[in-house]
């Protein structure tokens, strides 16, 4: 006589399961990275290593494919896959190896100092062997002692305890990535503006992911076979390998419906990264033309005889531009116009481009040497025999630099303004501190509506149709 009761309880149980399930479905709006654990490698290494290549060999005993995988990647090649570039015919392989920027300009001829940040050992000249497995540097990304430092040509500095580093290996921490990406361009916070060592132990306000949520870089920059996902527009022209906010934040609808009307024209970053370089100043301007002046005192943040004059800024309000995730690119040998600033990586897109959104950028401005006759930027030789940093002779440094880059040099040089755009994606602030209406709209707004193509504040005229 208990049948009806059993039925009831079945129905009740069913309802409970349904409720629990729907609760689960609701909770799963943001995918958080999984926590990882790494096998302690302390017991695998006993004897002291005599050379860094030996460490790599030791790693390869078990991780047989690792070096071959790394050697294919941008981190080792410093060249990407062939890509089409706006205004250039055919496909080009571009990367740190062959591009110029408006910081230290180019690596051609300057290998020993630039390749300090190369994920390999011994890239001192054009004869570096990219095929040799033991030239791969495993430790720079995986060691966790914090004492491992790379020096000239990417070799560990004298006295580095390779054994301790090898024993300590694990998944890359923020510091592993930061040793190059926080210090790129020759010093702390020089290049990106949204990447500096304040992220190593970040406050929630500085970066909500790495601060409040304790993310590691590799939680977002996911890695398959050592190929690390992510795009830096200083060396890339598209987002084929990019990471987006929506990879994790699946539901981007905001509680306030007004905000949602912005989503087709405004990138997440625009409101959620109100300022960059909040803790550590970043370089905003680099004037090479002032370099070589003996009379001026050296000061890392204002003037160095070898590099010229700088401007640093902290807690900077970004500049905003339409961006469809592709950029143009100035390639070595391209003609330029010295009378107007040359944008080395112009973000593509406009108000009429439906795929473009308004993005925040760190805009780095510079003045760098060019050939007055051929109208080309010349990457000078900096370090070494005839290098500008050694001899302070532009004519000589440029002549050698041009020859190495394989471009003509007339012997007449000048300095022309250049601009680089660095789209911001790090230093996302907690939502409470994101921009509000009046930060962009109204009299005190930070947007230049005319330049963006709106004419007047779209609050009054409506967004682009």
């Amino acid at each position: 006589m208990r049948k009806p009761l059993t039925k009831t309880s079945r129905v009740l149980a069913g309802m409970l399961v349904f409720l629990a399930f729907s609760a689960l479905v609701h909770a799963e709006e943001v995918q958080r990275p999984e926590s990882r654990s790494h096998l302690d490698h302390g017991a695998f290494f006993e004897k002291a290593f005599t050379s860094p290549g030996e460490v790599t060999k030791a790693c390869l005993k078990c991780h047989e494919e690792a070096a071959r995988d790394v050697m294919k990647t941008d981190h080792f090649q410093w060249l990407g896959h062939p890509v089409e570039i706006e205004g250039h015919e055919g496909k080009h392989r571009i990367g740190k190896k062959n591009l110029i920027n408006n910081f230290c300009i180019g690596i051609e001829g300057n290998w020993p100092s630039c390749t300090k940040c190369h994920a390999g050992y011994g890239w001192a000249d054009e004869n570096f062997d990219f095929k040799k497995e033991e030239n791969v540097d495993c430790l720079v990304c995986h060691e966790r002692t914090g004492d491992y430092r790379k020096g000239k040509s990417g070799l560990p500095k004298e006295g580095t305890d390779l054994l301790a580093s090898a024993k300590s290996v694990g998944f890359p921490r923020r510091e592993n990535c930061g040793v190059c990406h926080f210090f790129g361009g020759g010093g702390l916070g020089v290049k990106h503006g949204d990447l500096d060592n304040s992220l190593e132990n970040s406050s929630a306000d500085n970066d909500v992911h790495m601060g409040r949520e304790k993310f590691y870089c590799v939680d977002c920059h996911k890695t398959v076979k050592h190929d690390i996902q992510g795009t830096a527009y200083s060396v890339s022209v598209n987002a084929d390998d990019g990471i987006g906010c929506t990879d994790c934040h699946k539901n981007v609808a905001h509680r306030d419906k007004r905000i949602n009307t912005h989503l087709s024209a405004v990138a997440c970053q625009t409101c959620h990264i109100p300022n960059f370089a909040n803790q550590v100043p970043t370089k905003m301007d680099w004037d090479w033309s002032k370099a070589g002046d003996d009379s001026r005192p050296d000061n890392v943040h204002e003037y160095l005889k070898i590099k010229g004059e700088f401007k640093y800024e902290q807690s900077v309000i970004p500049e905003y531009a339409w961006f469809n995730m592709r950029t143009g690119r100035y390639l070595v040998g391209d003609k330029m116009n010295p009378d107007e600033p040359t944008v080395l990586n112009r973000p593509l897109g406009s108000i009429r481009d439906k795929t473009a959104k308004i993005w925040p950028f760190k805009v780095h401005r510079g003045k760098q040497p060019y050939d007055k006759v051929n109208k080309m930027f010349i990457p000078p030789l900096t370090a070494g025999e005839g290098g500008f940093w050694w001899e302070f002779d532009w004519a000589k440094a440029l002549e050698i630099g041009a020859k190495r880059a394989g471009i003509p040099y007339s012997g007449q040089y000048g300095f022309a303004p250049t601009v680089m755009y660095w789209p911001l994606s790090h230093m996302v602030t907690p939502k409470e501190k994101a921009l509000g209406c009046t930060d962009c709209h109204g009299k005190d707004g930070r947007m230049d509506w005319k330049t963006l193509g709106y004419g007047v504040d779209p609050m009054r005229t409506g967004g682009r149709k």
Binding site: M1, P4, D256, E432, G436, C437, T438, G442, D444, M459
Partner: protein
């Protein structure tokens, strides 16, 4: 005769200083007072060179161009500045007259006659329509013809900054919000406080987040929303307060023509600009917003919208420095009246920006009585001031003289007030809280020529009208109103001290709320005690009708006592008298449907009681939360009604309805027998007077009870409940039958009756041949009944 509307600006050309000097906001106020009294038009604008020169010497010549290039008006024609005689001021050297200058193109006489601000001499054309309220042109700001250059034309529709010159704190831009230094000293300026909206209500018009301000706000980090949502979304003052004939904004449709949606005949822009009607509109929230298109999560939104002003919820915690009392009977060392703020912890002499602001929750009062107008949020400000015999106010300057001399307080005043003799007067000391102090000050006032000065006290309700929060920041806290501590009919602390012999009177104000409560003493201070609102309103969870609860409770208690006594007696007699044993036979007593129906009914009634208790008695145990309880209560009522009708259908079709209908011929006899059994038989082990069989399950007492329950009490509950529910969807639908004030207590009484029934019903189920026999039968459907035993009562034999 025409009063010039713009008389505040004076220009004097100095040959030595190549700059045009004019007033600043402060001095304009000062000078206007002098000039406004002068009757003849011409005299109004005659400047006294010596005085002006002295004024000007104090000022620095304006350095930078006054008009931001972005704010230059590109449409308005350039014009010369004219004096009262219509001559160019540069030629005549006389002060500018806006009546003539602006009157060149605009009908200033019309504007003057149709102007809310006409009484306020400071509200000149320039004050409201020029950048920063000033027109201070340099020598170089004129062209050859004597016209003001376009670059100096900072002319526009009033901006918030213009309104802010008189009306309250307005803030914007990157600099964090602070309370200005003159916030308190401006209290008595130009007859009324310059920051009046903020001072009296705590409203601050700023687009910046509260958390970003420099104020010391409680739980500041969580206040990540703007001070005022409209400011935050760049809806400025003139969006709601606009000229009432502005063709861009106003609808001139005649309400008596309902078939007309819009009247296209309206002023042209040119006509409007010639004669703008300066009697400003104050747009209602609903002029722009459709509240019914939002608020999905609010139960009974129709009723909430009808009974509540939007700001009741959208400005439920005021965080600006709002006054609680403004005491002009005493003077602080700075020469200001004694100010006391609501929701603020402030030490003596502490800067307002450092004072800890917890804010206050405005009480809700009905505008013009609770029956027709919605409840709106108010701040009650208590004001004390000296008046003379005839009730005319004593100027504060005189009071100041009575307290302060050249070097601080007069010695006798200091002696009178300084309790701790430290030579200073703290805020606590500086109160007229005893007779000797009052007498002392009175004597001083009399010596200053005031005859029989007395203290008047008033309580002013100030309605909160700005500082709204966007919906996402409004907390849906039902208990804020539906609870013991309701904002509706709330008691409000008026002041922390009392002036002996002075009982403030409540100033209703124009169109203000009816404050029907009274002012009572509380501790050292005063409190506004709201009247209980009985017969005027009924807020679920807050208001109760004592008669309904006492009557219901008494019934319930009596039932419980009766059952207790009856049960106790049964237990005692159980041992003495063995139960009547007979041969038993198991039969199917209740069909599956009957059982499902019964238990569904039982479950819905129990849950209705539980949710009902939660709605009625909010401070009691909370199972679901108020809003859920209300929704659940409605859903359960629906289930109950459907269940009742289905069962009626079942009983009709199966003819089982007969079970409920007493047999007329034997009803009286049977009833008496049944009653006798309950009163006596049950204790002595007598057999049931009626044998329960599947064909006849109910004894006559049950039949009567269920008849009453199903035909009277349940319909009564359903009808009263439905009426209450309907009042939520169609506010006002109940007014003809007394409104919720009557309906709710009746429904409540019905609930008490139902509860009494449930208790009795459950108890009586234990009176079967075993204690749980009846309950088991209702669960399993089967019951043991006496197989052969002859019934003691032949009439109740089984009918075949």
């Amino acid at each position: 005769m025409r009063k010039p509307i713009g008389i505040a600006l004076f220009f004097v050309l100095f040959s030595t200083v190549p700059a045009w000097a004019s007033d600043t906001a402060h001095e304009s106020a000062h000078e206007t007072e002098n000039t406004v009294a002068a009757e003849p038009h011409a005299e109004n604008t005659v400047a006294q060179p010596a005085e002006i020169a002295a004024e000007t010497a104090k000022k620095e010549a304006p350095a930078a161009p006054i008009v931001d290039p972005e704010d230059v008006n590109v449409i308005h024609p350039v014009f010369p500045l004219l004096d009262a005689a219509g001559e160019n001021v540069r030629a005549s050297g006389r002060p500018m007259d806006t009546g003539k200058t602006c009157g060149n193109c605009h009908d200033t006489a019309f504007i003057q006659a149709h102007d809310d601000h006409a009484e306020v001499a400071e509200a000149t054309c320039i004050r409201c329509h020029f950048e920063n309220g000033r027109l201070e042109p340099m020598e170089t700001d004129f062209d050859d013809k004597g016209n003001l250059l376009r670059s100096a034309l900072g002319l526009h529709a009033p901006k918030p900054e213009n309104c802010a010159q008189c009306h309250g704190l307005v803030h914007g831009g990157q600099k964090p919000l602070t309370i200005p230094d003159d916030y308190e000293s401006a209290v008595l300026e130009i007859g009324r406080p310059r920051y009046d909206r903020t001072l009296f209500t705590g409203e601050i018009l700023s687009d910046r987040k509260r958390a970003e301000s420099y104020l010391n706000l409680a739980a500041k980090d969580a206040l990540t929303y703007p001070w005022d949502v409209h400011a935050g979304r760049m809806v400025t003052c003139t969006a709601c307060h606009y000229s009432s004939n502005n063709p861009e904004k106003t609808e001139i449709k005649d309400d008596s023509l309902p078939f007309l949606r819009r009247d296209p005949r309206r002023l042209s822009m040119a006509e409007y600009l010639y004669r703008p009607d300066h009697r400003l509109k104050a747009a209602a929230c609903t002029d722009c917003h459709d509240p019914m298109a939002a608020h999905e999560e609010l139960p009974y939104r129709e009723r909430h919208m009808a009974k509540l002003d939007c700001l009741s919820c959208h400005a439920s915690q005021m965080m600006g420095p709002a006054l609680r009392s403004l005491d002009e009977t005493v003077v602080t060392a700075d020469g200001a009246p004694l100010l006391d703020y609501r929701g603020m912890e402030r030490e003596d002499g502490q800067n307002l920006n450092a004072a800890y602001i917890t804010g206050y929750r405005p009480a809700l009062f009905a505008d013009g009585g609770p029956k027709d107008k919605p409840f709106a949020p108010y701040n009650l400000v208590t004001r004390y001031a000296w008046t003379d015999e005839k009730g005319a106010p004593v100027p504060f300057a005189t009071v100041e003289k009575a307290f302060l001399g050249e070097s601080g307080y007069h010695a006798d005043i200091l002696k009178l007030f300084d309790k701790n003799a430290d030579g200073k007067l703290s805020r606590a000391e500086l109160r007229l809280d005893d007779e000797t102090k009052i007498a002392g000050v009175r004597k001083r006032l009399e010596s200053l020529g005031i005859e029989h000065p007395v203290i008047s006290g008033t309580v002013e309700p100030h309605r909160i009208r700005h500082g709204a929060l966007a919906g996402e920041w409004v907390s849906l806290d039902c208990a804020a109103c539906h609870g013991e501590n309701s904002r509706i009919g709330e008691n409000v602390v008026l002041s922390s001290y009392r002036i002996p012999g002075v009982r403030p009177r409540i100033e209703p104000g124009v169109g203000g709320p009816l404050l029907m409560g009274s002012i009572v003493s509380e501790g050292d201070g005063l409190r506004y005690e709201a009247h209980d609102g009985a017969g005027e309103r009924y807020v679920l969870g807050h208001d109760r009708a004592p008669w309904s609860d006492s009557l219901g409770f008494a019934l319930f208690v009596m039932t419980a006592i009766g059952i207790g006594a009856h049960g106790g007696l049964r237990i005692r007699s159980r041992k003495k008298h063995a139960a009547h044993h007979a041969e038993m036979k198991r039969v199917r007593m209740y069909s599956l449907y009957e059982r499902v129906w019964h238990w569904l009914m039982a479950l819905s009634i129990l849950l209705l009681l539980v949710t009902g208790i939660e709605i009625h008695w909010v401070e009691g145990p909370a199972f679901f939360g108020f809003a859920t309880a209300v929704n659940l209560h409605n859903v359960l009522a629906g289930i109950l009604i459907a269940n009742a009708f289905l069962s009626l259908f079942y009983h009709l079709v199966s003819t089982d309805i007969k079970q409920f209908i007493p047999r007329r011929e034997t009803f009286l006899q049977d009833t008496i027998a049944q009653a006798k059994y309950y009163i006596n038989g049950i204790f002595v082990g007598a057999p049931h007077p009626m044998r329960k069989t599947p064909e006849r399950k109910l004894n006559p007492l049950q039949q009567v009870t269920y008849m009453m329950l199903l035909n009277v009490l349940l319909p009564f509950q359903v009808l009263t409940g439905a009426a209450i529910w309907a009042a939520g969807w169609w506010p006002g639908s109940l007014e003809s039958v007394g409104g919720l004030v009557w309906m709710t207590p009746l429904h409540n009484l019905g609930a008490w009756l139902l509860a009494s029934f449930v208790v009795t019903h459950v108890y009586l189920t234990t009176t079967g041949h075993t204690v749980f026999a009846n309950i088991e039968a209702m669960i399993t459907g089967n019951e043991d009944i006496e197989a052969e035993a002859a019934s003691p009562n032949e009439n109740s034999e089984v009918r075949k």
